[in-house]
Amino acid sequence: MSDQITFTIDGVEVKGKPGQTILEAADAAGIYIPRLCFMKDLIPHGSCRVCTVFINGRPQAACTQPITEGAIVENDTAELKEHRKNIIDMLFVEGNHFCMFCEKSGNCELQAMAYRLGISAPKYPYLFPKRDVDATHPDILIDRNRCILCGRCVEASRDVDKKTIFEFVGRGADKKVAVNANADLKDTDFKATDKAADVCPVGCIIKKRVGFAIPVGQRKYDTKPIGSDIEAGKK
């Protein structure tokens, strides 16, 4: 049995191992497929749809779809770029994102993705939803204004920390990440050292009193666009 699977992404031949997802194989080959909810070490669950690619002409989430021999994958196309921009756009307007005073600015995956895709201002109207802040925990603050419902904290707490501190409640526009049946974070055994404290792609779950300690210019995406670390590994 062959231990290698060969397929193409945008016409480039890529080799991967059985069981790998398209996204993993692309990463290993130095091809960046934009993504938001996916995170290494967490079980991919395909919620954000930013990583959508065409596999043999059908749209699929690259972070959950396993590679298959001879598959023709389209990633860097105008159509998919438009699709991704729309998702990012909606994530901005569905929350309250004021990047100019957000401490995640420069380290934020949503913002970095917007820059990478060339979004300067969202085309949809802002919804200005009413969201709350949970500052009860001594070391961690949750600012739900910036939550993009990626699910990383839910998974990390459940699968890695084995605590199930976060969960989604509500539907549609009312969906939000809640803490143990709507308790305050201080009433849980959440620790700043938990994996779930370190996975939020945006400025929603943040460590208290860190703020702007890292100056502008030294933040993760200040000089290199998101995905460039993966592209640096291009073969």
Binding site: A135, T136, R209, G211, F212, P215, V216, G217
Partner: protein
Amino acid sequence: MSESKRVIIEPVTRVEGHGKVSILLDENNKVTQARLHIVEFRGFERFIQGRPYWEVPVLVQRLCGICPVSHHLAAAKAMDRIVGADKLTPTAEKMRRLMHYGQMFQSHALHFFHLVSPDLLFGFDADPKIRNVIGVAIKFPDLAVQGVMMRKFGQEIIKATAGKKIHGTGAIPGGINKNLSIAERDSFLKDIKQMLEWSRGALKIAKDYTVENLQKIASFGSFDSNHLSLIRKDGAMDLYHGNLRAIDSQGKKIFDQVDYSDYTDYITEEVKSWSYMKFPFIKSIGAEKGWYRVGPLARVNTCDFIDTPEAEAARKEFMAVTNGKPNNITMAYHWARMIEILHSAEKINELLNDKDLQGTDLVVKGKRRNEAVGLIEAPRGTLFHHYKVNDDDQITMANLIVSTTHNNEPMNRAVAKVADEYISGVPKITEGLLNRVEVAIRAYDPCLSCATHAMGKMPLKITLYDYQGNEITSRTKE
């Protein structure tokens, strides 16, 4: 007849922010009332509730697109107290000072070259088509270039210390998040001699103008008043930090070396039915006579000396004009402002040559507090930030008093005085006469954007009403 009152009011182009002047005339064209209304919007104090305190120095910059750095630093100073950082490291304090002097330098340069020089160089009555920054650029090209370059220099200093020209993040509770690299330092050292030279030139223009026109401007929009500013322990001017000092129009101290954390014991604000903006005054004197001026004029008046040699020499010349007594001439603000621009340049020079700016000890912390006040001498005057923070680190109360609010009563007096002197009873009101109203307001360099807590710039509108309350004319420039 009403035709004679249908005067053209030129666009009010050179005050930043949003405000309204209304002048009421009686049947004989006599001014019965002249007021400056600024719509003060305090929505910000509500907006900030619940936000974590470490976010505030960055968040408050939303208050004003014109003087964000002053808010950044005043809030950071309050947050220093919240985290119990009662003494910053030398690197942190000096980086913040450098940021502040850079801001002072660029703000004063913008005001003087861009907004004021047309009035001083061409006269209040000059053709408004020439009496503007383009006119200056054509007739005095060197000056126009200097203004732009000085502003740029100040902005680059802000960028090097705060990280960005606007919405910087440099000052954090307990210190600063970066030092000054050797490369950054050298890029400024290369230009500082030129900046000092141009500052001397600007000072000379302001001084010569004041001295040569003293007769004419001594009473222009002028009145006796109290003056308030921060002052260093030894009585030196200190734009970044100090205690509060208030003096009366003759120089007698009303209070001195007051810890600004106790400001509510000394200063309070009055609400007037016709204005959305409050009127602060000194408690011990009362609302009637307790109002005061802040800003460059007040600072030069209140200090015992300036600790940089050239600005100190300039201060002595300035004080000699009024025989060592406080100068109460509204138009003398310009001269005082240019003394400060030179002082800021001297301070920047001092700091650039200070090795502490390359230090790496950036942040300190101490015993946490739940309430704190931060004050700074912003380009336009004393800026107060006052916060309460709960045990969960969230803001529960914010009270800000901006320079323009302190100067509310003085600016109203200046408007009334000029209206009375130049507009009252005049059958034909020319553009030049109306410009005088604005000239008087502009001397204070009000930041209406700040006062209204609105982002960006908004217009000042001057409206003239006849005795029946009908609008004769009004002009607004967006």
